[in-house]
């Protein structure tokens, strides 16, 4: 009996920390408006975020907050959240399953993209699924979003922190950018 009481007390304590989880969920469902339920986007120009690596999510959110990484909209939003909230959101969405977007791709561009992305595989993996915990999943991400994201890396006027990515993106022709986006978008694994 004694243990049941203690167990109850400790469980209550744990539920205390579960309340923080409740708060995380209440916070996270406001992200659904733009990024979809469980971070699975159905808008071709909005990225899916459910299942992206925790450290990647946390890093970009903090970089946006600090202003060291350019964003069109997210920077203004994320400045409203504490670092603890940012960490909780990153953890929350990283635990959701990664779901490749249902989209049709152009086989010709995909074939070209496969060639072009050979130089990307070192960091991003062959299919865009690096799996190293730091690099975002590109496999099955929305093609239009990937193409728009490349715009940022290709424009020197905006702050993007990864010099290597910047160099690589600027080497690509317009058609290559499309092909790369289509290739990764077409990958399911």
């Amino acid at each position: 009996m004694r243990y049941r009481v203690v167990f109850g007390m400790i469980l209550a304590g744990l539920l205390g920390s579960a309340y923080a989880e409740d708060k995380t969920e209440a916070l996270a469902i406001t992200c659904n408006n733009c990024h979809g339920v469980d971070g699975v986007s159905v808008g071709p120009n909005m990225p899916s975020i459910g299942g992206l690596p925790e450290s990647y999510l946390k890093n970009i959110l903090l970089e946006w907050k600090a202003g060291t990484r350019y964003s069109a909209t997210m920077g203004r939003l994320v400045k409203g959240y504490s670092d603890e909230q940012i960490a909780a959101l990153a953890a929350y969405f990283s635990k959701k399953p990664w779901t490749p977007a249902a989209q049709t791709t152009d086989p010709k561009l995909v074939a070209l993209g496969k060639k072009v992305t050979a130089r990307c595989a070192g960091c991003h993996g062959e299919t865009g699924n690096a799996g190293d915990g730091d690099t975002p999943n590109l496999n099955g991400q929305w093609a239009e979003y990937l193409e728009l994201e490349a715009l940022k890396y290709r424009d020197d006027a905006v702050a993007m922190p990864n010099k290597q990515m910047r160099k690589a993106a600027q080497k690509l022709s317009e058609e290559d950018v499309k092909a790369v986006a289509e290739f990764y978008a077409s990958q399911k694994k």
């Binding site: 243990y3 209440a26 659904n32 120009n45 409203g80």
Partner: protein, 433 residues
Amino acid sequence: MSQFTRRDFIKALAAAYPAAVLTIPKAHAASKARVVVVGGGFGGATAARYLKMMSPTLDVTLVEKNKIYTSCPLSNEVISGFGELKDLQTGYDGLKKHGINVVFDEVAAIDPAKKSVALKSGTTLAYDALVVSPGISFNYGGVEGYTQELADTVLPHAYKAGPQTLVLRKQLMDMPDGGTFIITVPKGPFRCPPGPYERASQVAAYLMANGKTKSKVVILDANDSFSKKGLFEQAWKKFYPDMIKWVSGANDGNVIKIDPKTRMAYTNFGEHKADVLNVIPPHHAGNVAVSAGLANDKGWCPVDMLTMESSLHKDIWVVGDSCVHGELPVYAAPKSAHMAVTQAKVAAGAIIAKLNGQPAPEPFFVNTCYSIAAPDWGFSVVHVYRVEDGKLMYVKDAGGISPIETPALAVQRKLEARYAEGWLRNIMADAFA
């Protein structure tokens, strides 16, 4: 359980720990409570869906008049022809699949004392909690000479998307080059604060794209400023120089009367001749909310800013355009779809907590509102709110409008124009799918 040993305790603890951390305990006592949601727009649909997601055993009924919902966001792009109405429409099958009873009917009366909703078909729904999200109703008398009949036929306001949107599009297409398209804006607050100005931009985009460059767009405004003004004016100068003219309330822009036959708009001291006359009449909380005694003397429904529960009737939560959520200058929610959806999620959490006899959880509100001023030229306003001393406050360091001056203006505007579309797809799925 009486044989609960120390070893069992440790095992149970080990098992409970990840469970307690990873899964959030949902509602318990609320299980069979009845929640009725009136109005199946962004606010109502989201409330119904999230109530069911947060507490699957709840008995949730959504009452909605129309079988198809048409999004107002991005409907200005239908007027200009850059978008299609069918892409803004959705039915209610998604909500039905979640186990929500969707009833296509109209509300005859809400009785807050008896906690029941009478429907026009004769059915009466009893509730433990009621969500009211009817959007807006128009005060046609606010502009002399304007009527609902005119709105439904020859003078569409198109400020509820649907058939009127297409009538206005047709009128724009039929307008000869050199014509004047007049938009009249009522005194605020009104739904979608940047809506009239985005509409003016879209009309101008159509005119430019179709070689009708001698035409004019005139905004006759009862107000002295408007949402994202600097961003709109920058876009107008760049894409439609001298085409769009904004007349503020202080400059006699307030339209008090129209003549539907001659398409004249009259202000206190002046008159304006239109080829297309688009009157946006003043509006207030949806009539069903007003009839239920949920509105204040200004026609909007005051609510507790942390829970969305009505300040006038308990156990009724008002979300979306009908509510007046907070007071300027500290905090006031714009009447946007994004706000309605976040309010609905907060209301859902507060309802379940109250049904369980628990305090309402800390609410999180955020607003993002995109406008598209020209093809691939979009911008936004963002609000983030936080509870301080029991009140909602804007987080000062966050939010605000898109930068007006930036080295990468074209990239910024292109991204946000595209995001507007992605936002719509996701917010519609969030509410209805």
